[in-house]
């Protein structure tokens, strides 16, 4: 299926330093607000499927899944600390007016 940018959420609904999960085209996607810059990635931790919006603790662009301590870089999805070994999938985003659009 071809990807396209889909309006997912209003930027004002994601607090600075917060992570919010939304369903976009039947995919559960988490969006992090890092000082006004937004990053989108799969909500499910690649270790044991904890919700990153629910359990994720953001420090800068580092997201710790507090369930078991895995750390990811929200910009790239790269694993920064185990137990996760598989990167989390990231999605391109853009802001149009007050809407956050995610390419899925």
């Amino acid at each position: 299926m071809a990807t396209e940018f889909v309006t997912a959420i209003k930027t004002s609904e994601i607090p600075v330093g917060g992570v919010t999960a939304i369903d976009v085209r039947s995919t559960r996607i988490a969006v992090a607000n890092v000082g006004g810059t937004y990053y989108a990635f799969d909500d499910e931790c690649t270790h044991e499927q904890c919700s990153l919006a629910e359990y994720g603790e953001l420090a800068g662009t580092n997201l710790t899944c507090t369930c078991h301590g895995s750390e990811f870089d929200v910009r790239t999805g790269k694993v920064l600390a185990p137990p996760a070994t598989v990167p989390v999938k990231v999605y391109p985003v853009r802001v149009v007016g007050d809407a956050l659009q995610i390419e899925v």
Binding site: E48, Y55, E57, T64, T66, C67, H68, G69, P82, P83
Partner: protein
């Protein structure tokens, strides 16, 4: 000449050290020696997802098989180290091979304590430490079968949960008043007992196993108080002892494991230890601690490797671990043995709480049931050793990240 780095123990600590030596070091050979035949793997799944058959063994590997050769890490597996001679800088294996080293890491972990009571040699009595142990238990898992779990520490508690999840009839027995009593205390331990009972485990506390009975395989567990429990098999989880036999007469200081300083180094220059086997001087808690958890294996393995490379970085990690039982996520961080106050956020009987072990107004340790984020947020206060406002700590309305703390 390029230095020879040798690691005895192809464990999580040992493998992490090897990887760190490669990723952060320069030249030098790295040799990883392991008594088990498998490539280094993580043990947490053995009592949980792997035991239940939910994940394959490959998922537990520290790195894929090809990684070691690709990164120039020599692995010698299925080879137990027999003796270490610091004067000649040599590791002798049981098959008499000699492996010379310039810097050595001891990451031999521990071995299970065994019960020495009548019937302990019967078939169907298992410990759990290795993947082979887990495989033996897995063969016994059939819904409706009866198991007695001896010991309700972390391994016993997790095994009891996993076996209940597989539909077995579980009886758990422990000499203390509650599960995890020695770590968490009675009030918190009681919540774990409640968790197991709510999931249908029959719990027996303040009683111990006196004998196992059976002709060939175990059929009954007899307790000191006189209970006689019918069973199809038994899992014993009563703790480990550090595996230090190979160091006897080596001159390396042993006391509840291999004694190391805050740089993970033993009294012998160039010889280090990490993981379950190491009793380390903790610069924040100002005492010696030996930790048998996953995070310590990784972090201390890496720290030891950096010090083997001459970096002089003290190891001051705040110890942390999780224990998933049923759908509950239990986490602990810090270090405590006694406490003046137990400050509870939320209610202990609610299935979601945070409990802080406090001395002199400072949080020494925290335990959380289904409070993963809160545990994380308390950790900086444990590390800083600052006294915190205990009323705020207790108050769910106060964000833990902005707790008032003394300067």
């Amino acid at each position: 000449m390029a230095p020879k780095y040798v690691i005895v123990g192809a464990s999580l600590a040992g493998a992490t050290a090897a990887i760190t030596l490669r990723e952060e070091g320069g030249d030098g050979t790295v040799t990883l020696i392991g008594a088990e035949h498998e490539l280094p793997y993580e043990r947490p799944p053995l009592s949980k997802a792997y035991l239940r058959g939910d994940v394959p063994f490959d998922k537990a590997l520290v790195r894929p098989a090809a990684f070691y050769a690709e990164h120039g890490i020599e692995t010698i597996l299925g080879a137990r180290a027999k003796r270490i001679d610091p004067s000649t800088r040599m590791v002798e294996l049981e098959d008499h091979r000699q492996v010379p080293f310039d810097a050595l890491l001891i990451a031999t972990g521990g071995r299970n304590r065994r019960v020495s009571i009548p019937g302990a040699d019967l078939e169907g009595i298992y410990g759990l430490r290795t993947v082979q142990d887990a495989d033996r238990i897995r063969k016994e898992i059939v819904a409706g079968r009866r198991v007695v779990v001896v010991g309700m520490g972390f391994i016993g508690s997790e095994v009891a949960a996993s076996l209940r999840q597989k539909g077995l009839d579980v009886v758990a027995i422990d000499p203390s008043k509650t599960p995890l009593f020695h770590v968490l205390g009675e009030a918190v331990g009681q919540t774990i007992a409640d968790l197991h009972r709510a999931h249908g485990v029959r719990t027996i506390f303040e009683d111990t196993v006196a004998a196992f009975e059976g002709t060939r395989g175990v059929t009954h567990v007899v307790t000191k108080a006189g209970l006689r429990l019918e069973c199809d098999f038994v899992v014993v989880g009563i703790g480990i002892e550090p595996a230090v036999e190979l160091l006897e007469d080596s001159g390396i200081h042993l006391d509840n494991g291999v004694v190391v300083d805050e740089y993970c180094q033993t009294n012998v220059s160039g010889v280090y230890a990490a993981g379950d086997v190491a009793t380390h001087s903790h610069p924040i808690f100002n005492r010696r601690i030996r930790v048998e958890h996953w995070q310590n294996a990784i972090k201390q393995g890496a720290a030891a490797a950096r010090n083997m490379l001459g970096r002089c970085v003290p190891y001051d990690e705040i110890h942390w671990f999780w224990s998933d039982q049923y759908d509950a996520n239990l986490q602990y961080a810090g270090f405590h043995t006694t406490w003046e106050q137990l400050i509870v956020r939320g209610r202990l009987d609610s299935g979601s709480y945070l409990a802080c072990y406090v001395n002199d107004g400072r949080i020494d340790a925290v335990v959380g049931l289904n409070r993963a984020k809160d545990v994380r947020r308390v950790m900086p206060f444990i590390k800083s050793r600052r006294a915190v406002d205990l009323e705020e700590l207790r108050d769910e309305g106060v964000d833990l990240r902005s707790l008032n703390a003394s300067s």
